[in-house]
């Protein structure tokens, strides 16, 4: 019997094709955007986690307090670095000075972000990371006017490719490119221009400045204890409000919660569009009930109960939900794949959009529920029609 109702529903939907498809479209848009947003943001979450796994579990970051662009932060100095270097638990203490300065290659000039780093032992400071050179070498101790660049500086930043042994003009000073890193996968790191920190300080005109300190600890198991120790050590020489000590886990959690908020907001907006789609179904079903009032009367006169009528109409809106949900989920999956491809083209090759069957099934189920709920009120109205009144209606 239910199967008969389903067939009957399909017949009726096909009978008013244009209107059915328009109603379906409303649902398609809603479900497609929800599926795409969830899939992409899950991909984003996964890739951030992956990126942090690359950073390793033995690093702690110390930066001046306050959010925003790292070049705008200040407050840490070489004194802090010296203080930390005395701690026995630390393998490496690496200060970074990040500054935005004009960079020129050939005739082309633009503003770029450069990072000053200690030029000694670079290979060992980063030895545990999955980083490798594409060409050339790392910076060497005592070097002043050399630079190590990321793959995108070489390939994309300027019209001509920047090669090893060519020169970049940073703040009108000549720097020789001595190495190019392999692709790391995020555009920040792939766009890096590394110079010795002393030179960076000269360029920025800030003799003692440090933007961020990265420390590698000897025993990863002691992460939390060492982080607290660093906190206490620095509190002795500066205001506790003026700096932040962060473990990768904390940063990951922070990013995760930001991402969660963004996800909730975006999915909320998408849900509103689904709601509008649901209202579309409701509207279409009310029109449908009105148009078929006489038919409802006829069906009651040949033995249809209120429940039969109700089921017939609910099946129709349910089928709209099912079709809309299926197309929407497929479209949403395509869109998220597209976003993955676009992200890779834009430098975020680490963003791996994985299609999740769970989300697709959930999207379709959700859409069927929306269809049924939206159809419920019109269907109830149809079922409550008095047979005699319905029959008299033309």
């Amino acid at each position: 019997m239910l199967l008969d109702y389903l067939r009957f529903a399909l017949k009726n939907l096909r009978n008013r094709q244009l209107r059915s498809w328009l109603t379906v479209l409303g649902i398609v848009i809603g479900i497609a955007s929800i599926v795409a947003l969830i899939t992409v943001s899950q991909g984003l979450e996964n890739s951030i986690e992956e990126q942090f796994e690359k950073i390793g579990s033995n690093r702690i970051f110390i930066s001046a307090a306050g959010g925003g662009d790292p070049t705008a932060r200040s407050g840490l100095t070489q004194k802090d670095v010296d203080k930390l270097e005395k701690l026995p638990d630390l393998e490496w203490v690496t200060p970074y000075l990040i500054a935005a300065v004009p960079v020129k290659f050939g005739r082309e000039s633009l503003n770029a972000r450069i990072s000053g780093v200690p030029s000694d032992d670079m290979d060992r400071r980063w030895g545990d990371l999955d980083l490798s050179l594409k060409e050339g070498r790392f910076l060497a101790e005592g070097e002043k006017s050399s630079t190590l660049i990321g793959i995108r500086v070489s390939d994309d930043m300027f019209e001509k490719d920047v090669r090893v042994n060519t020169n970049l003009k940073i703040n009108d000073k000549k720097f020789k490119v001595i190495g190019i890193m392999d692709e790391i996968g995020n555009s920040d790191d792939d766009n890096m221009i590394l110079v010795p920190i002393e030179t960076a300080r000269e360029l920025a005109g800030t003799p003692d400045a440090v933007t961020m300190i990265e420390v590698v600890i000897k025993n990863p198991a002691e992460m939390d204890r060492v982080a607290q120790k660093i906190q206490r050590t620095l509190e002795k020489v500066r205001d506790e409000e003026s700096f932040e000590v962060q473990t990768p886990e904390q940063i990951l959690n922070q990013l995760g919660s930001i991402l969660d908020i963004i996800q909730v907001v975006l999915v909320g907006i998408a849900a509103i569009s689904l709601l509008v789609g649901g209202l579309g179904i409701m509207n279409s079903m009310y029109t449908n009930v009105l148009e078929r009032t006489n038919e409802i009367g006829v069906m009651k006169s040949i033995g249809a109960t209120n429940l039969d009528i109700m089921l017939m109409f609910v099946f129709e809106s349910g089928v709209i939900g099912l079709v809309g949900g299926t197309i929407g989920a497929a479209l949403g999956t395509l869109i998220s794949k597209g976003v993955g491809v676009a992200a890779a083209a834009g430098g975020f090759s680490i963003l791996k959009v994985k299609v999740s069957f769970g989300i697709i099934i959930l999207g379709i189920l959700f859409s069927i529920i929306v269809g049924i709920l939206s159809g419920a009120m019109p269907a109830r109205q149809a079922s409550k029609l008095k047979p005699i009144d319905a029959l008299r209606y033309d």
Binding site: F8, K11, G297, I302, G303
Partner: protein, 233 residues
């Protein structure tokens, strides 16, 4: 034809009052009627005299304001919605003036629909629908939609549909009203055929020639049976 004495339909002092705002329309004003099993009763009367109202109430499409309607001894005014639907589906077959087929369904599907509501299996449904359509001589039109059939053919599909669940009573409200006299005769022929197979038939009509086919003619005027005319007829 000999009839059993058992009544299948009995209306006792039935009133139906429609209220539309301040206006009250008394469609039936104390109608009493007794129809025996296997009887063929024609109801005549001027337009607006309450014929359709009466027939619809016998068919459980509406309930009386006061009075009793007994169907096979049961008072339908005491029944709930789903019981009434069951009775409509199993005991009553309707044939309407304007055919009232479902436009999206084929002749075959239209005839099967009443059986769907009774939960008949697909196999039995198909078999019976084919038989019935063959009986009304539309065996070659089973996959046609109503819009692809003539008025007379549509009404024959409707007759086939009314028989789907093998009801005891066929209610036909001006079944030839929308047909020319020739097609009307054809429809009449099938109704008579049903009567011969033992169905109880109540038919509303304006046409004296058609009414003559009935065992008995009742005249309805102002919501009541005209007694004088009855004796004469």
């Amino acid at each position: 034809m000999k009839k059993t004495q058992k009544s299948i339909i009995k209306l006792e002092n039935v009133w139906k009052i429609y209220e539309m705002g301040d206006v009250k329309v008394e469609a039936l004003r104390g109608l009493s009627l007794d129809v025996k099993k296997h009887e063929f009763v024609a109801i005549k009367g001027p337009s607006g005299s309450g014929k359709s109202t009466a027939v619809n109430m016998v068919g459980c499409l509406d309930i009386p304001s006061t009075g009793k309607i007994l169907l096979d001894g049961e008072d339908i005014s005491l029944m709930g919605e789903s019981d009434l639907a069951q009775i409509r589906g199993r005991k009553i077959g309707f044939v309407f003036q304007k055919f009232n087929l479902i436009p999206t369904l084929t002749a075959m599907e239209n005839v099967m629909l009443p059986m769907v509501f009774q939960g008949t299996t697909a196999e039995d449904r198909q078999k019976r629908a084919k038989e019935l359509l063959t009986m009304v001589e539309l065996g070659d039109r089973i996959d046609h939609r109503p819009s692809e059939l003539s008025g007379g053919q549509q009404q024959r599909v409707a007759i086939a549909r009314s028989l789907a669940n093998d009801p005891e009573v066929i209610l036909a409200d001006e079944p030839t009203g929308n047909l020319d006299s020739k097609t009307g005769k054809m429809v009449m022929f099938f109704l008579k055929k049903l009567h011969k197979t033992g169905k109880t038939i109540i038919m509303v009509t304006h046409d004296d020639k058609l009414a003559k086919h009935a065992d008995r003619i009742e005249h309805l005027i102002d919501g009541k049976i005209e007694q004088k005319r009855k004796k004469r007829g």
